[in-house]
């Protein structure tokens, strides 16, 4: 998929290995474009509201259902709320959910993977649990979890924070399994290496061993699953919102905006396009980034 060009490395100067990774990453055009676009989107949704200072919840009924104008570049919705401001607010939620849920899934996956790979005694049990989770019907269970815990969590944390916590936890505990499997495989291979034996021979304790020797060496698969995890989390959150089981209606996310816009698809098809394009392009850019990162972190390709 990628063309690997020979990079000119200066062997005389000791270099951090991450510079090599960066050099390899730069040769993957799609990945660089994906990274640029992802940074652009993140800036647009987090910094954008300071520049485009219309309140996303401000209702201006006289300006409802407008197309693209200078006052409202993305048009307005059926209540006259500015779509650009709503897209930014929605993007903040969608990307925050994506990043946080990915972080949680990554933490769980790495924990289970390292423990299963390093401690032989609990390996069988943990991998059984992983297999069980992989056999669960995830989307139905996610829907059920949202239905069950929406009320109590909204009551104790407020509607927005409650749903945010619920969705992040729900996505996190249903998507850690691939990471756990990959990390476990890598840890099992690492354990047989000489440097681990050397570290053990000088009496390194398991906790220290995992933090100092094992974890840094499994960083690359973790980083690749991190990028792919963002994509899955964003899609899952949007799917939940699209099915009407996500955030409350007055609290926009990209999935919710898409869902709301489908009711007006006949009259205002352009309103569907903005959130849909935002979701798809963000996921596409993250996928390309993950693709480039995988190649860049693979020393067999990078060494060429």
């Amino acid at each position: 998929m990628t063309d690997t060009s020979i990079d000119t490395r200066d062997d005389a100067v000791a270099r951090n290995q991450w510079w090599d990774v960066w050099d390899q990453f730069k040769t993957h055009k799609g990945a660089v474009m994906g990274a640029c676009f992802f940074i652009f989107i993140v800036l647009a949704v987090y910094v954008g509201p300071w520049i485009w200072s219309i309140d996303p919840t401000y209702i201006d009924v006289r300006a409802r259902n407008q197309g693209s104008t200078w006052a409202h570049p993305f048009g307005t919705d059926q209540l006259g709320r500015d779509m650009l401001a709503r897209m930014m607010a929605g993007g903040q939620t969608s990307i925050s959910v994506g990043l946080t849920a990915m972080g949680l899934a990554l933490f769980l996956g790495t924990l289970v993977g390292v423990l299963a790979g390093y401690f032989k005694r609990i390996d069988g049990l943990l991998m059984r649990v992983t297999d069980l989770f992989l056999a669960l019907p995830l989307l139905p269970l996610l829907l059920v979890m949202v239905m069950l815990f929406r009320q109590p969590l909204s009551a104790s944390f407020g509607p927005e924070t409650g749903i945010f916590i619920l969705i992040v936890i729900a996505i996190g505990i249903t998507s850690w399994m691939p990471t756990a499997r990959i990390v476990r495989g890598d840890v099992l291979a690492l354990k047989e290496r000489e440097f681990v034996l050397a570290a053990r021979s000088i009496g390194t304790r398991p906790g220290k061993m995992i933090l100092r020797h094992v974890l840094p060496n499994v960083m690359s698969p973790i980083m690749v699953s991190a990028t792919l995890g963002i994509a899955t989390a964003i899609i899952t959150e949007s799917a939940l919102s699209f099915l009407g089981l996500g955030f409350p209606p007055d609290f926009p996310t990209w999935g919710r905006l898409l869902f709301d816009a489908t009711d007006f698809m006949q009259q205002h098809p352009q309103r569907v396009m903005w959130p849909g394009l935002a979701i798809s392009l963000t996921v596409l850019s993250v996928n390309y980034m993950g693709d480039g990162l995988r190649d860049a972190l693979d020393p067999r390709i990078r060494g060429l």
């Binding site: 998929m1 019907p137 139905p140 059920v144 069950l148 949007s238 799917a239 098809p269 798809s280 996921v283």
Partner: protein
């Protein structure tokens, strides 16, 4: 091979039992009360009796075992007794939906044909498109075709069904003139009875959009797998030997390489079937197909616990079953896997 199959079957049973327990306990916490929809004039003691009649008075483990027995024993026996006369119907009451007061399984069986028709056809179409794309992409690696294939499958991965579906509706229903050949209905009409060629044409037309949306996802995944698997095999020594023996290129590629590359792809195809059922929940919602995915959403919104439990368990059974099929297929196709 038989011991391998039996061992895999035996490991599937505890998995299913455990999953059923998780599903049951999770749904048991549901806040919804089945009597909440009843009129307020009903006195509390009658309300309590209604709750008892729905089986809510028992402790959790009894209710779980009863539910499991109903799922795996009473319901199959009931359907068996309907079709053959030497089996009598079981004594227990059937699993009743809280929402419709009809047997859960009857409703599911009513909805299943729509799902199977749309989802099944979409999967077949997707696989049929994906295989040639994968083969050509691998054979002509880095060609324009391969690059285009990579790009299209990246798009297939990245555009979620709830956007591609809506996009299709805008293109083929909203923007297209109504009398054009390329206009397709966006709402799936389940009441359509196929009794003439005209009705058959209508049925085909209303299936086009949902099938396209689902097939795009399948094609993206399977074609990537096919390509990777073909690439693994094309550089093997046996391919060189086959060419050295003077075999034509088509025999080398389609007979030697394709057969060996199909081994992992077949298992991936089997593993993808339950996932497609999951994706169909969203697609059915968009195109208003009243299949089991749509039934699940409606039941969740109405807190219809027995229906959701049963549907989720059916999805779980599908996943475990097709995992099993994939493992066994792998064992049949690749003798090296049958480690005992």
């Amino acid at each position: 091979m038989l011991t391998y199959t039996i061992r895999r079957l035996l490991t599937a049973i505890p998995t299913l039992i455990f999953i059923s327990l998780i599903i049951f306990l999770l749904l048991d916490m549901a806040p919804g009360d089945p009597t909440a929809q009843l009129p307020l004039t009903i006195p509390p003691e009658v309300r309590e009796q209604i709750r008892q009649s729905l089986g809510l008075g028992e402790p959790v483990h009894i209710r779980y075992l009863l539910w499991l027995k109903q799922m795996v024993w009473s319901e199959p026996v009931y359907y068996l007794s309907q079709s053959v006369d030497w089996v009598s119907a079981p004594d227990e009451a059937r699993l009743i939906s809280w929402q419709t007061r009809a047997p859960v399984m009857d409703t599911i069986l009513e909805r299943l044909p729509q799902t199977l028709m749309v989802v099944g056809l979409a999967y077949v179409v997707g696989v049929l498109i994906a295989l040639p794309i994968g083969i050509i992409s691998a054979y002509k690696q880095y060609s324009v075709f391969d690059q285009a294939g990579t790009f299209v499958s990246m798009i297939g991965f990245s555009i979620p069904p709830f956007f591609s579906g809506v996009l299709m509706i805008i293109l083929f229903t909203v923007m297209m003139p109504n009398d054009s050949f390329w206009w397709f209905p966006s709402i799936y009409d389940t009441t359509l009875v196929i009794d003439s060629w005209e009705a058959f044409g209508k049925q085909v037309r209303q299936m086009v959009l949902p099938v396209m949306v689902l097939a795009l996802q399948t094609t993206a995944q399977i074609s990537r797998f096919m390509r990777a698997s073909m690439l693994d095999n094309l550089n093997q020594d046996y391919v060189r030997t086959a060419r050295a023996k003077g075999m034509t290129e088509s025999v080398v590629v389609l007979k030697h390489v394709l057969r060996n590359s199909m081994i992992p792809v077949v298992t991936v195809i089997a593993l993808g079937i339950p996932a497609i059922f999951g994706g169909a929940i969203i697609t059915e919602q968009i195109f208003k197909v009243n299949g089991i995915g749509q039934l699940l959403i409606v039941s969740i919104q109405a807190s219809d616990v027995p229906m959701v439990q049963t549907l989720t368990f059916i999805f779980a059974i599908l996943i475990v079953f097709f995992n099993l099929i994939a493992d066994i297929l792998y064992g049949i196709l690749d003798p090296r896997i049958r480690y005992d």
